[in-house]
């Protein structure tokens, strides 16, 4: 984290407390960015699965489909990890 705030640049010369605060800030922004990136990925994927015709509003069925799509994608991800773990244990 401190590599982002090079000491040799006097404009970025922060005291320790501020460096810590900025480190925390960057961590949380990073987490927020990863969350948003996941949402982009899911929207991309689930749009193709759930939205057939462009209407004036997303209808109930499409909304349910989108929600299920996210849930099942995450379930699939967990399932794969679990299954790989089980396979590994059997070896």
């Amino acid at each position: 984290m401190s590599s982002l705030l090079p000491k040799q640049n006097p404009n970025l010369d922060f005291d320790e407390a501020t460096q810590k605060e900025l480190g925390k800030f960057l961590e949380s922004e990073n987490a927020r960015m990863r969350l948003q990136q996941s949402i982009h990925t899911f929207t991309d994927l689930c749009w193709d699965k759930c939205i057939n015709k462009i209407s004036n509003k997303i209808d109930r069925g499409e909304e349910t489909c989108l929600t299920n799509c996210v849930e099942r994608f995450l379930d699939t991800s967990l399932f794969i990890v679990k299954r790989l773990e089980e396979t590994r244990k059997k070896l």
């Binding site: 605060e21 759930c50 004036n56 509003k57 997303i58 996210v70």
Partner: protein, 96 residues
């Protein structure tokens, strides 16, 4: 907050520089997020609305793209809500 008086003259300056760094990071991330959304919308709505590219973007295609944009952002929000509530549910489950 209380600072040793010797340092206090330096504090406002550092405070404002800190704010500047934070603002810049926030702006850049917001821009990257918007760009990603625009790219996705462009890709998705082009494939939905411009099935046979003609010699211009005609008005029915424009209407379709306009609607598609709104729908994509709506879908983004629905997905966002679903994902965030799942993450919250799962983190609560872990703490039990």
């Amino acid at each position: 907050m209380n600072f040793p008086s010797g340092l206090s003259s330096n504090i406002p300056n550092m405070e404002s520089r800190k704010q500047a760094v934070m603002d810049q990071v926030r702006n850049e991330l917001a821009l990257a997020n918007a760009q990603e959304l625009i790219n996705k919308i462009n890709e998705k709505c082009f494939s939905k609305c411009i099935t046979k590219p003609g010699n211009k973007l005609d008005s029915s295609e424009q209407t379709c793209v306009a609607k598609c944009m709104d729908r994509y952002m709506e879908a983004w929000n629905i997905v966002s809500r679903a994902y965030i509530s799942r993450v919250q549910r799962e983190s609560q489950g872990e703490s039990l």
